[in-house]
């Protein structure tokens, strides 16, 4: 049982969704409320990590912030270690490959708010921030929650991209999914079975919890 790897995975997933929350809300709102030329193209770009094989995403991430890339070199100069093969590198990759999981459900959530409710709030003299926090977020909450859960679960399970961008460095980039892979290769089936069962139960609990909560949140509006 690789507790370090489990802790690493939980940290990665949690920090990812915390960083994705403002990004998702901003982009989800924008795509929900505005109609502009090229909107279809933007939505396609957002959805890209969904359809691309993880190795393609991994390859382009390596090219974008590997040791020979401008971004990678800037990072190396500032922090004295490479961006790939580090937890921060995984975080970058994780935010990018979770964009569709974060943005799309939030966009649906904001789209479901009837326009006249927002108009009414504005007519009441509420500031845009008040409209956001007191009207839009409560109404779009199930969509936001779904987005967070999907991103969390997806990060917990991501394998190919994490392996390519992170290597499998114990304590730094060896997530629990990779640890299971590593244990199988080491002919340690007992550990692999333990960790797989734990992940299965954890994933079920997280998803069940969120579906229950989102049903309650949905019910309170009626």
């Amino acid at each position: 049982m690789d507790w370090t790897a489990l802790w690493l995975s939980l940290r990665l997933s949690t920090i990812t969704i915390l960083l994705l929350l403002p990004i998702g809300i901003t982009c989800g709102r924008l795509l929900a409320y505005r109609d502009f030329r090229g909107k279809g193209f933007v939505e396609a770009i957002v959805a890209l990590p969904l359809v691309l094989p993880p190795t393609v995403v991994g390859y382009y991430l390596l090219v974008s912030f590997g040791a020979s890339s401008p971004l990678g070199q800037v990072w190396q100069n500032i922090f004295d270690h490479s961006l790939v093969f580090s937890f921060e590198g995984l975080l970058f990759a994780s935010i990018i490959f979770n964009l569709p999981f974060a943005i799309q459900p939030m966009q649906r959530g904001f789209e479901s708010i009837p326009a006249d409710i927002r108009d009414a709030a504005a007519c009441c003299g509420m500031s845009p921030w008040t409209v956001l926090t007191k009207v839009e977020l409560p109404l779009a909450w199930p969509g936001i929650l779904t987005a967070m859960v999907l991103s969390f679960a997806h990060t917990l399970g991501e394998f190919g991209i994490v392996l390519m961008v992170g290597g499998s460095i114990p304590g730094e980039t060896r997530t629990i999914a990779i640890s299971i892979y590593d244990r199988v290769q080491a002919f340690d089936n007992a550990a692999a079975a333990q960790m797989s069962a734990l992940l299965l139960v954890l994933s079920l609990v997280v998803i069940a919890l969120v579906f229950t909560l989102s049903r309650r949140a949905g019910q309170s509006y009626n």
């Binding site: 590997g66 040791a67 009207v135 460095i169 114990p170 730094e172 590593d182 290769q185």
Partner: protein, 273 residues
């Protein structure tokens, strides 16, 4: 809407929210504060899966220091090291990778030879393959068209894969068997495939076959060294290696520790270079 505002003002909800926020804050802050001095990270060829794990355990029990082990194909690690992977020591199953890294300034010195590896042909129990060092059993299976899956490591970046290709060519079996090959990313994965009942067998590392976890899964036979280029295995300290890494590097060269390499089928070098 008023109903929901009341819900949000509920004290219980506020407490839960505060608890969640503090947990999240802990999650962000804790790792940077609680981390002890980093244990050195060792990149090791997969054929050392069992041998190096034993050695690391011995190191821990004798010095109280621990090391982090990462196993994979030698070629893959060499690539990662060039890309800045934070390893302290690199154990390669093929010394040419180490020597190239030294030539390119990524290591302190040309490293130290720690042994020579051997390959075996392995067949899981109930396989139709009969193992022998001259591959007659394999040849027979091939001519009677009974080979469906045969496992080797990737010849492109795994030293044992390259030797498998060489020896299969040496025995004149390569062209027939190529279409049936299952390629493992490293010699451990190849051993996984070779020991599974879905393959007739494979070419794996002697050091892996000697471990009870593998040897109990089937039978194997040593393949003569003259059928492939030697597997001279070299270890080296990388540029940023710290004190504990240097300690481990010296530890591995002690006579009693080198005996562990011998136990796992490595031929010890007569001199250290």
């Amino acid at each position: 809407m008023a109903h929901f505002v009341h819900y949000k003002n509920n004290l219980a909800v506020k407490n839960v929210r505060n608890l969640c926020l503090s947990l999240i804050l802990m999650l962000l802050v804790l790792p940077t504060q609680v981390q002890p001095a980093q244990a050195p990270i060792i990149a090791a060829a997969s054929d050392l899966q069992f041998a190096l794990t034993d050695i690391a355990a011995l190191f821990q029990s004798q010095t109280g220091q621990s090391v982090k082990l990462s196993f994979g194909s030698s070629g893959n690690f060499a690539r990662q090291i060039r890309q800045g992977a934070p390893f302290d020591i690199y154990f390669s199953a093929d010394e040419s990778y180490v020597l190239k890294l030294f030539r390119d300034g990524l290591t302190r010195d040309p490293g130290t030879l720690y042994g020579t590896g051997r390959v075996v042909i392995f067949a899981p129990h109930n396989s139709t393959l009969r193992v022998d060092g001259s591959l007659d059993g394999l040849r027979r299976l091939l001519t009677t068209d009974q080979v469906t899956r045969f496992a080797i490591a990737n010849p492109e970046h795994a030293p044992y894969g390259r030797r498998a290709l060489e020896l299969l060519r040496h025995f004149g079996l390569w062209s027939e068997i190529a279409q049936h090959l299952v390629i493992g990313e490293n010699i451990s994965q190849a051993a996984q495939f070779a020991t599974s009942t879905s393959a007739q067998g494979g070419i794996i590392a002697y050091s892996l076959a000697l471990s009870p976890k593998v040897s109990t899964l089937g039978s194997y036979a040593l393949i003569p060294e003259k059928s492939h280029s030697t597997l001279r295995q070299r270890m080296v300290l990388l540029n940023d290696a710290g004190a504990v890494a240097e300690q481990f590097y010296a530890f591995v060269q002690r006579d009693d520790v080198r005996a562990i390499f011998r136990q796992y089928g490595f031929t010890l070098p007569s001199s250290n270079n």
